[in-house]
């Protein structure tokens, strides 16, 4: 029984680790899409963030500089996206696809040029990464049954970036629903002409939304390469940006719901790796391909209105022309 309890805790623990980049990217996606800009480029921003974080951490030995670099790189990608589809009113999907290609290419090219290891960065030691941190009182409440174990195994012992991701959800919620900027941002995504006629610059609001998204993606990228992992690997983002996008849709473009979707997708992932090769009673072994495909299947079902009805921002994908 105690063993089973620990198994569950470890699975939930893994869920949180896997879900962290998804959560951050999903928040980025929400900011961008709620302002009316389709963001396929989450994947590319995540990848470039991961690369720059590992590179700078490895060259300078500082995880914090790595994180800052990741944020800057990701924001630059956001600005490029903005330049193409806000300033020049280009197609947002095309621009997103372009950024994803750029990120795949440039990370490997620069990686080879700098480290000469086929696109991989050297393995970082513990000091160059965000280490797991022990939260307060872990020792003192360790003896309390159940709660102590939950605290020790699940809540404590993650890296700073995991907690940061968790804070980002209420933060995103607050900005979107309780601040003036958030009101404007949502309005720009629904009826930009109304915002424009109120004398607020649609362009500037959308640029800011993209920059905020860039910051989130940068943190997510840094998490991948200098917290969860210890190096950058080519194509390391492995579709996480797209899963985050699915979570955004799944959460109906709302932070808390998207957060829940990320946890769900993370949980599926964690269970998949735990159940690999395990024979379950009655059902037998679950094919891992099916588990990997499940987030996509769920999102497709949701999108086609078989579970609930998604309500995307009205002005999404439409460049604003005065």
């Amino acid at each position: 029984m105690a063993d089973f309890f620990l198994q569950i805790l470890w699975t939930l623990d893994a869920t949180l680790r896997v879900a962290t980049p998804l959560i951050l990217c999903a928040m980025a996606g929400i900011f961008s899409e709620r302002s009316g800009i389709v963001d396929i480029s989450l994947e590319g921003k995540l990848l470039s963030g991961a690369f720059v974080a590992a590179t700078i951490a490895s060259l300078t030995g500082s995880a914090w500089l790595g994180l800052s670099g990741a944020i800057i790189a990701s924001v630059l990608m956001s600005l490029l996206h903005g330049f193409a589809c806000i300033t020049h009113k280009g197609d947002q999907v095309v621009s997103g696809v372009a950024i994803n290609f750029l990120a795949s290419g440039i990370t490997v090219i620069l990686g080879i040029a700098i480290f000469k290891r086929g696109g991989q960065t050297p393995t970082l030691n513990l000091n160059e990464r965000f280490r797991p941190i022990e939260l307060w009182f872990t020792e003192s409440i360790n003896n309390i049954p159940i709660i102590g174990t939950i605290y020790r195994e699940l809540i404590s012992g993650h890296s700073l970036l995991v907690y940061l991701a968790l804070i980002c959800v209420p933060l995103a919620s607050f900005i979107l629903y309780r601040s003036r900027f958030g009101l404007r941002l949502r309005a720009v995504g629904e009826a930009p002409i109304a915002v424009d006629s109120a004398g607020v610059s649609v362009t500037w609001v959308r640029y800011r939304a993209l920059i905020i998204g860039g910051i989130f993606c940068g943190i997510a990228g840094a998490y991948l390469s200098i917290s969860h992992g210890a190096f950058f690997l080519r194509e390391m983002s492995a579709g996480k940006g797209y899963i985050a996008l699915a979570a955004v849709i799944f959460g109906n473009w709302r932070p808390v719901r998207a957060f829940v979707a990320c946890l769900l997708f993370g949980f599926l992932d964690a269970v998949t790796s735990r159940l690999q090769g395990v024979d379950l009673p009655i059902i037998g072994e679950i094919p891992s391909a099916l588990m990997i495909a499940l987030p996509y299947i769920l999102t497709i079902l949701l999108l086609s209105g078989f579970i609930g009805r998604p309500t995307p921002p009205s002005a999404i994908g439409v460049p604003y022309k005065k």
Partner: protein, 371 residues
Amino acid sequence: MSVIKPLPRWADLILLPFINLCTAFFVCGIVVYIIGENPWDALLVMLKGAFIYPGSLGYTLYYTTNFIFTGLAVATAFHAKLFNIGGEGQAYIGSLGVLLAAALFAQYLPSLLVIILCICCSALFGAAWAIIPGYLQAKRGSHIVITTIMFNFLASSLMVWLLSGILMEKGQQSPQSNLLPESIRLPKVQDAFEFLGVNISSSPMNLSFIVALIALLLFWILIWKTRLGYEIRAVGKNQDAATYAGINVSRIIIITMTISGAFAGLLAVNEVMGVQNRVILNYTAGYGFTGIAVALMGRNHPIGIFFASLLFGVLFQGGTELDFEFQSITRDMVLLIQGLIILFSGALAYMYNPTVSKIFSKIEKRSKKNG
């Protein structure tokens, strides 16, 4: 805002795309320069690798064949203003059609007939994979971009499952299918030439290049010479107007996606029937995504698509040569160029429009003064 004068047709069709392309290459050159190599040398190596070395032209045209198929897939959807990012998945599933047709008919029917059936089945399976997103877009309002992305991942999971399961070659550890029977493998171009008594160096280029050229022609006829093509373009221009004109928009969306998926599925003809002779894990290798760049560069026109495919063929084949010649430039450079081309020929396609327009009107004024 000043009103931008429309450019003359040739400038819009040739000059602007050319300037965009040059910008993409220019930026790429800067990257090459930054990592400490000579951009000019890199370009020469690529061109040599794509045209001059023995067999290289065949390789270039083999890649070109792939890009014609996937480019046509994206372009067909673009004409109805649909963005089919799912070419990759559709092509992947298309290979199942080849396997199925080969398994069903190869023993009983003459090989020419089986080859034709295989080609049809690859298109059919690709189409089937595209029809669902098409249906969901038309009838249930889910966005085609998202669903086709999801379907790429689904296709990939499905193929991993199949290729490491029931389709896996017996006694093998790597996820790949059995070899196709020899009778239905497409002849290589060098074999065809040998038959005519001419020796050329060997390359993976095969007769599916002809299939690709036929596909280009069919595409041109479909889009510009048939009623269906007219309806597709009408839906792409303005859905409300199309509805008002009595066109069933949902029907056209579904049909367009079907045709688009069929073109993507044909990729299996070149890769599976012509080159690998079996289905290998991830055999699509991103060709489906490159189709986006090809369609954007080729302005959704068959001639444009042909030349854009050729360009990407040169880039891919020349890119492999970079691996040999340089320490720090690899074929990943091609990914970067691809991204830049999509950016400048796609998202920023009209960035230079105002500038070029201004220059044109200046020239016009001057010539009026002088004249």
